[in-house]
Symmetry: C2
């Protein structure tokens, strides 16, 4: 007898957001189960629950302990998995809910952002052997002292991919409220279309697009263990986007997607003496203050002085600027300049590894549109530019038109 197809499905908070939605999800799982598949399901907390619990915590203490916060928040997934298992039972599908400490999912002890160290799937394998659906709580694990840990926002995606890897599943399906990964945001550019397939690396570089679909860390996991991930709609059965190992044909595509970020701010430390340790003296205090740095550009120095520019999320600009102004004198800078409102646009594609001229073509497309480039940063399969925030929409449009065009699968009479 051949091995059964093994499927891990992950449902987000909206998909299990009400008893009705949970029953609908159970009905969908029942079809897979009845067709003879081995199914493990990872559920997020019902939408709204995590925020409810966070509000309770903040009413009890302005600075809730990380360990206790994890124990508190993990109840969200405990509730949804128990309810989903009940709903499956009610449809005649044997099911077993499994919490992080039951599966079990072992993590390090970094409460609130724990990393999965190993997954013991023997209990889930037993469930399969008994014909049960394993309903696994996302987002949570236990450390070696059996303290409950959580994996951070979107952690259920990582639970699903890690579980799929441990179970050697044929696919990890991420069921969500969008129908897949798009070439860019359809709200900005109506020529955007759903990608059928994309490589792990492209997905990682498309972070700003992808983060709306699934947690980026889960893609790293999927890449490391070669787990095929299928991002698709929880509302219908249509095919979504497969995130898979690199394929030969993918290299023929110069640009797979256009990613962007609107809410950034730019800070420049002007004319600072270019001495060893300069970058550390700026970014260590920034990191300690919890400011996340996105792009950093440092030009070659002239007369021993250089300009150091970086971008941060708009929300962090005040604290970042304060830190930089505090350091400016100490490092002998001539001044500090801040632009509180810039945007970033990136083109991503495996093809640019082997094809020269993508950057030049990108800059030309933007120049023809009259958009000024403030900063440039490149990686092997990505080119990013920082521009005025107000020009982001136009930039996305011109780059999508210039590099991607319209969906080859749609008729010429379509939109765009």
């Amino acid at each position: 007898m051949s091995r059964k197809t093994r499927i891990v499905q992950k449902y987000g908070g909206t998909s299990v957001g009400s008893p009705e939605r949970i029953r609908a999800v159970a009905a969908r799982i029942k079809k897979l189960h009845d067709a003879g598949n081995e199914v493990a399901v990872v559920a997020s907390a019902m939408s709204g629950q995590t925020n409810r619990l966070l509000a309770l915590a903040s009413e009890v203490s302005p600075t809730p302990t990380a360990r206790e916060l994890d124990s508190l928040l993990s109840t969200g997934e405990q509730v949804s998995t128990a309810l989903l298992a009940m709903a499956l039972h009610d449809l005649g599908v044997p099911a077993l809910s499994l919490l992080g400490h039951q599966v079990q999912i072992s993590t390090d002890s970094s409460h609130g952002k724990a990393r999965i160290l190993s997954i013991d799937v023997s209990r889930a394998e037993e469930a399969f052997a008994e014909g049960q659906v394993a309903v696994v709580a996302g987002f949570q694990g236990v450390d070696e002292r059996r303290n409950i840990t959580t994996l951070g926002r979107g952690g259920s995606d990582t639970t699903a991919v890690a579980l799929a890897a441990a179970l050697k599943a044929d696919v990890c399906e991420i069921l969500t409220d969008v129908s897949g990964v798009f070439t860019t945001d359809p709200r900005i550019c109506d020529a955007a279309f759903k990608l059928d397939r994309i490589s792990y690396d492209e997905m990682l570089e498309l972070a700003s697009l992808g983060a709306k679909v699934l947690q980026i860390r889960s893609v790293e996991f999927a890449k490391r263990y070669s787990v095929p991930v299928h991002v698709r709609s929880s509302l219908d059965e249509s095919e979504g986007t497969w995130i898979v190992p690199e394929e030969k044909s993918m290299e023929e595509v110069l640009v797979s997607g256009v990613a962007f970020e609107k809410n950034e701010a730019k800070i420049t430390l002007l004319g600072v003496p270019d001495t060893p340790g300069l970058a550390a003296s700026i970014f260590v205090p920034m990191s300690e203050a919890g400011v996340v740095i996105d792009m950093i550009v440092q030009n070659v120095s002239a007369e021993g002085r250089t300009d150091m520019t970086f971008t941060v999320a708009k929300d962090d600009v005040a604290s970042a600027e304060e830190i930089v102004r505090g350091i400016a004198d100490k490092v002998g800078a001539r001044g500090v300049a801040a632009s509180p409102s810039v945007g970033k646009v990136s083109v991503v594609g495996l093809g640019m590894r082997n094809h020269a001229g993508v950057a030049a073509r990108m800059f030309k497309l933007l120049a023809d549109e009259g958009i000024n480039i403030q900063m440039i940063s490149t990686s092997e399969i990505k080119i990013s530019v920082v521009i005025d925030a107000e020009s982001v929409d136009r930039a996305v449009g011109v780059l999508h038109r210039g590099f991607i065009g319209v969906d080859a699968n749609t008729s010429v009479g379509g939109s765009g």
Copy 2:
């Protein structure tokens, strides 16, 4: 150095019913901790949460699986313990929340009414050694396969007493919204007063009074392990009622309390042939239907026939009567009579073990009041009578006056 005083406290759902209440409870615990005591706290779910979760379950499935229901309901205590530990931290008191699977509390696998088999207190002992308050989730445990179990309504009391036994605590304090155990319900009889001390056995027999204060199973546990239990108010620091091993002086009190139950119904199987197996043929189907029988009285038979009478909770009378009518023909009974509205009044006291005449005096007190006795049942330290439901209040009053009087500690000018 002498051993520190070790205290287990249990707070009910109302006491931890809001962030403000949780902070107040934390402040009370802080005082005990700062005074140098080793403190373990057992918390119930925030009031209303268990019902909220039950409603969710019933929306997902009309017959939720017992295992999943336990996993669901146990989140209530997981939330309150995490919040209480946070509140303690916030007051500068080191605290560690411990769930059933972390403590750990091992139970059998009877979901919804699990029994505690053993408690491993090593984690709690470590917490004490580190100067931490151990905040333990009530109501929950794990079976040998790490399935989450719950102990049934009021199970947090049992958690507290069992934990106190395992920790060899000096006292188990049950903090509740009443100030202790009363001689009878003050709402019925204004001469009722709070008992300073009562024996485990009396407390067990006072079930109907005691059940409003703490789960009766917890008293069995306290008796078996000789845990001194102190029932007191969560709202002030006044002394409550100590439930303790039997003391010599207790035998001098004929009657410690008057218990009663108003919502009972009585069913009689008339003139049934008195054959072996008669009782089983009636009560086995009753038990299978989930009907809880309270009192059973069977008179000696005349001409080979007997009357079998029993009481059930009013809510169960319809199904009980249906079962009995179904059996009546089969067992050759002459008929079935049902009184849908009777009451039960009991006097309880260690003293009646050595003093004759308590029953006679009780019957005389009721007769003088014109109250007719329908059934009588006795145990070593308790006499119960079934009477008309409408006479219960008067019966409680006359028995309290006749046996207990007014509180010896209050002035003669007091109420009553």
